[in-house]
Amino acid sequence: MTLRDKTADETPRSWVRAVLYDATIRGWVFQGLVLLALILFAVWVVHNTAANLRAANIPFGFDFLNMRAGFDISQKPIDYTLDSSHAQAFKVGLLNTIIVSVLGIILATIIGFVVGISRLSRNWLLARAATVYIETLRNVPLLLQLLFWYKAVLSVLPGPRQGYVLPFSANLSNRGLTMPRPIPGEGFEIVMWSVPVAVALAWAIARWAKNRQAATGQSFPVFRASLGIVVGLPVVLFVVLGAPLSFEIPELKGFNFAGGMVVHPELIAMLLGISLYTATFIAETVRAGILAVSTGQSEAAFSLGLRPRQTMRLIVVPQAMRVIIPPLTSQYLNLTKNSSLALAIGYPDLVAVFAGSTLNITGHAIEVIAITMAVYLALSLITAALMNWFNARVALVER
């Protein structure tokens, strides 16, 4: 009797107990509470900010994005006129940020790898030159370097009427590098589409060659074959289709060149500054990565009969990459964020166009800065995600 009573009134209690003391459930409950608190806090912040702005007679909202921008942007990768909206100006600025970041990352990586390997070279002069380059450029603030390069570019280049005449109707002056603009004709899309097809083909061949080498030991000139396909296929198609491409040649009209396309001096100076600066850090990363691979690895490769180049390409670099990629990612992130210094030299990036002109014309400071910060966060997260994916691919697979 007593026994039964006990169990009877203990059943609900033990159920409550089980829930209360269950680590998983408790974890969920507490995380839920924290999340709720965070959401409430965010709502409170937004609400309060809006209320206080209203009290100060400052309108709050995002309608301004649809209003006419009315200002000019020097570099317009997409359609943009004085009648375009602030939203369109935002896109132009964003694209300009992406252009300078992507080109900067490519250049900085190439320079960084070359310099990093040079610093380890047995050639004394080369190694010294690399050291001097790294130590000077790494230790001067980037803003100063950008201003320097901009000044240098502008003072070295002559005015547009005395510009250097280059092959293919190109011209280099202090208004930039003017080039003919390609105008695709009928059938040019086919040529364009053949490029990814050729790349896929080359990839298939590389895979087949690898499997065959693993099975039979026979090697295959993969590089030359892929190059032949990737270049050859589009070229053959282009010729067969009757060269469906014409060019708009830039002409000197009045003060400047009209027509064609231009790489403005601001972009040239940006790329010089930002890639030479970031390359110093990349070079050090590369050097560290190579030094991290023990010499035993090369010695083993040599004793297997691999030549020095093969040793570098097949043994050292793949192992070094595992050390190089994580810090390389943060260099890419730095470069993207540093590109916001562009406004100092008149390059129309997101910060200059959107957090500059749009912000000042509309006065919506909080909204504009919030959007701009969100964009940089998104760009960084995308870069990091891509690099993590790449890192996972090259990471050491433990067997």
Binding site: N52, S74, K151, L154, G254, F255, G346, N360, G363, A365
Partner: protein
């Protein structure tokens, strides 16, 4: 960008504070408690309007607007602290209460006056936008600038007027936009642009900063209206009145011949308007109702001078700029400067 982002974050932080604060009343009390007026002026230094002189003292027409307010509040025009602001930073600095008033060659426009939570209190200089070009181009009119590259500073009305002007004249152009005036100046100097554009008042002093000023000429066209004046935060009527009437007092003083030198003699003037201005006579007190003393305007004229004196000293014949009064003459002399009566 860094400082601007910072200011915006600051702005965010101010508006985030718990509970809605009454908009911005009490600026006068704050100023009295601090013991000085925090005044936003031109950051790059615009000669004649707001720039430190060789000894590091701020001088200029805009600076005099700040000094007049300090004289009205404290009886001492030197009780001002200055914050140099770029075109981009200026309104944020005012909104976030970093400064008590803004006097930085800022154009009154409808959107600024109605959408930024600020109010312009008057016009201390009627200006207009112009162009400067290299002589070698052989251009004599802005109408000849079709296809030109133009250097301009961002965050200004200048940037928008430029676009309007070329569009309405059916001309194309390429704007090279810089955040800082120094950078725009340097790029034009280095030949990056065919033309440079800003307020006419600024063009002359910027031309003098070029390596070879004589290589550039200012074109005759004025393409916009730029009424430049001080601004305060919306919602503090008392402070707004003080800043507005400090300017009017200087205009009225000029109109009735009251100068820094003769203001003490003028106290015995029989002219009732002058008596009301200087607070002379039984029950003549227009200062106390706005939180000041009855001799508020006397202090302005004693400490800063009348508008004409300030103009001549800073931008007129007594300065290197030698700008004629033009639109900025008093209404009695064919200009636009006009103050309502003190009554």
């Amino acid at each position: 960008m860094r400082s601007n982002t910072f200011k915006t974050l600051l702005l965010g932080a101010v508006f985030l504070g718990a509970g809605a604060v009454a908009a911005s009343a009490g600026t006068l009390d704050d100023v009295k408690a601090k013991g000085f007026v925090q005044c936003g002026v031109n950051g790059a230094g615009l000669a004649g309007f707001g720039a430190p002189d060789d000894a590091g003292n701020w001088k200029g027409l805009d600076v005099d607007a700040c000094r007049a307010v300090a004289a009205a509040v404290f009886g001492d025009p030197s009780k001002v602290k200055y914050t140099g602001l770029s075109a981009k930073e200026r309104f944020t600095a005012l909104q976030s209460k970093e400064i008590d008033m803004l006097a930085r060659n800022s154009t009154n426009t409808m959107s600024r006056d109605t959408q930024l939570g600020i109010t312009f209190t008057g016009v201390n200089y009627y200006d207009g936008q112009g162009f400067m070009v290299k002589k070698a181009l052989g251009v004599s009119s802005a109408k000849d600038l079709n296809g030109a590259s133009v250097c301009v500073q961002s965050g200004t009305t200048t940037e928008l007027n430029l676009a309007d002007y070329f569009k309405s004249n059916g001309m194309t152009f390429n704007a090279v936009v810089f955040e800082k005036q120094e950078e725009a100046d340097a790029a034009y100097d280095a030949g990056r642009c065919d033309a440079y554009t800003t307020d006419a008042s600024g063009l002359y002093s910027i031309r003098l900063k070029m390596t070879n000023p004589d290589d550039s000429i200012v074109l005759p066209e004025i393409i916009s209206k730029e009424p430049l004046g001080p601004a305060v935060r919306q919602g503090d009527d008392q402070w707004e009145s003080i800043v507005r009437w400090s300017h009017y007092a200087m205009l009225i003083a000029e109109e009735f011949g009251v100068t820094q030198a003769n203001v003490d003699e003028m106290k015995s003037s029989e002219n009732p308007e002058v008596q009301r201005l200087l607070g002379v006579g039984e029950g003549v007190d227009f200062g106390t109702p706005i939180g000041l003393t009855k001799d508020w305007a006397y202090n302005i004229i004693k400490g800063v001078g009348n508008y004409g004196e300030s103009f001549e000293r800073n931008v007129g014949e007594g300065s290197p700029l030698k700008i004629a009064r033009g639109l900025n003459a008093l209404w009695t002399k064919g200009g636009l400067q006009y103050a309502p009566p003190i009554r």
